[in-house]
Symmetry: C2
Subunit: 302 residues, 2 copies
DNA sequence: AGCGCAGCATCGTAAAATCCTATTCAAGGT
DNA sequence: ACCTTGAATAGGATTTTACGATGCTGCGCT
């Protein structure tokens, strides 16, 4: 347990600097008896007389006091540095931002977001991570991340969710599938087709719910947690899929042609959102990033 | 002005270490509400939420909080180091001792004193200075020195004086002076002889007072502030002197023979003493040195 | 599904620390 | 002898810190 306070040390160093209690008092804007008492108490607590008192002529440090004061000044400087850094962290836009992103959202949106934000605020570094919804929520709750970029589906009560943009899901078909002739695919047309499910929470429930809402029990032939694997399976003609994320280009990794068709029915759109803990007081940095995200996604309003 | 206290930071770091307010409370022996309030206040004062609260599962640092806490721990360590060093300075016998010595006393006594003390306490270093009585008193008063080794003559009221040993003054004569035939020299015999005065305060007044007490008005032919110059002048046959300090050997620097004779009269002895400021609370180190001096000079009891 | 437990926050209060103004006291300079 | 300077003390108001008791809420266990 520490036996002295920063305030006491601060005063003692000021008395040293000014050569007298009275001068320090004037300079600090603190009454002279306050300093006198504070110094006396500090000396008692550390068991060391710091100053020699000269009647009507100020004080001067004792040999042992001088050694203490030299170190004490370092401590005060250290404390001031910490305060300054902390104040900066709270009010200016700099430092590190820990951002987690849902795996299928990350490749399309995170790079431009980071590019835009860091060129706006060069003092900022961003730490990135991707994961499933569960992992993101856990990470934010445990303090590993400041915010998470994810789909606003089944979000728990303790998260503050900022919607950014919504995207309509689409049907993904093999390039030569007979339904590719249609401009819009009604969900009923998929009734008996084999379904390739993107199997990540909460996407899984989101997609199956879309089909079930249309009265269709999906015939899940394959499933994978990887978007690219799903696209590959569809490319191989093993079934259709329903997705929100739409990478640039109409080919799978392996090169098979793919076809993307809007859904004819009215369906729930996938809402991309930024989520943070409700209980967390936002730093300026986090707020600024949030604003930047809103800005960036405004372009996708549709 | 610093906006947080060491106590607050100490508590916050403890909470971090133990993962919960309750655990830190048990470990610190401080009530849980105290820590809770202290943390809340600290967060408000630095404008930064340090911890995420988990219901019934402790707390975990936020990303920004983590950065603060890492630095905060350094600060606490710094403060603890200072406290430890200071406590050591107050209670153990180590560190630096600033010793000032009257110029004529120094050569004979300071080297053995330092040798003896530092071999007793190897952790101690001693800073040395010599000077006139005025300089010594000024140095001790201004905090340049912890203690001064000097003659206890005309000591001001604000000094605490510890007598160490007393030495009888002697008459110093040229080697072939007629009075060298006497075993003890009565002061009256010096009545008309030229006097060579060691002219340093307070020795000057001490020596002249001795002669005046015996009813003699000294005929000051020469004076010098240097003991060795005085001995040289006497060696040249330019007069006699009265001194307390008696170097080893009966020759001046230039090689002239000198004779030392006790004074037949009853005269005031020169008292060597250690002086410190009354108002200064002594460190263990100073007390130990004082004790060592008393010990060392016991051998000179005469 | 309900219940108990764990753990943080809040409330009320007592003790201690902090700070102020007014005053006293001592040394030095005039 | 008096005035100035500057530290210490006294007394009192305010703030801070601490405590115990209690409330509240999610988690895990039956």
């Amino acid at each position: 347990m520490l036996r002295y306070t920063l305030r006491q040390v601060e005063y003692a160093v000021a008395i040293w600097d000014h050569g007298s209690v009275a001068a320090a008092s004037a300079h600090l804007g603190v009454a002279q008896p306050t300093l006198s008492a504070s110094l006396a108490k500090l000396e008692a607590q550390i068991g060391l007389q710091l100053f020699i008192r000269h009647h009507a002529q100020g004080v001067s440090p004792s040999p042992a006091g001088l050694r203490f004061l030299a170190e004490a000044r370092n401590l005060i400087t250290h404390a001031q540095d910490l305060q300054r850094d902390t104040a900066a962290a709270g009010t200016t836009i700099e430092g590190q931002l820990a951002l987690a992103s849902f795996a299928t959202i990350a490749p399309s949106f995170v790079p431009p977001l980071i590019k835009g934000f860091t060129s706006l605020h060069p003092q900022v570094t961003i730490r990135m991570a991707e994961g499933t919804q569960d992992e993101l929520l856990k990470g934010v709750r445990s303090g590993d991340f400041d915010v998470a970029l994810l789909y606003d589906v089944d979000m728990p009560e303790d998260f503050a969710v900022t919607p950014l943009a919504s995207f309509a899901p689409h049907v993904l078909l093999p390039g030569r599938h007979r339904l590719t002739r249609l401009k819009n695919v009604p969900l009923v047309a998929l009734k008996d087709e084999p379904f390739v499910l993107l199997d990540i929470a909460p996407s899984r429930t989101y997609f199956t719910r879309i089909l079930e809402t249309a009265g269709i029990t999906p015939n899940v032939a394959f499933s994978s947690p990887s978007l690219e694997v799903v696209r590959g399976l569809v490319g191989q003609g093993l079934g259709y899929s329903i997705l929100v994320t739409r990478p640039f280009g109409d080919h799978s990794y392996a090169g098979e042609e793919l076809a993307v068709r809007p859904i004819a029915d009215e369906v729930a759109r996938g809402v991309i959102a930024l989520a943070a803990l409700k209980q967390m007081r936002k730093t300026r940095l986090v707020s600024a990033f949030e604003a930047h995200c809103v800005d960036y996604f405004r372009a996708f309003a549709s």
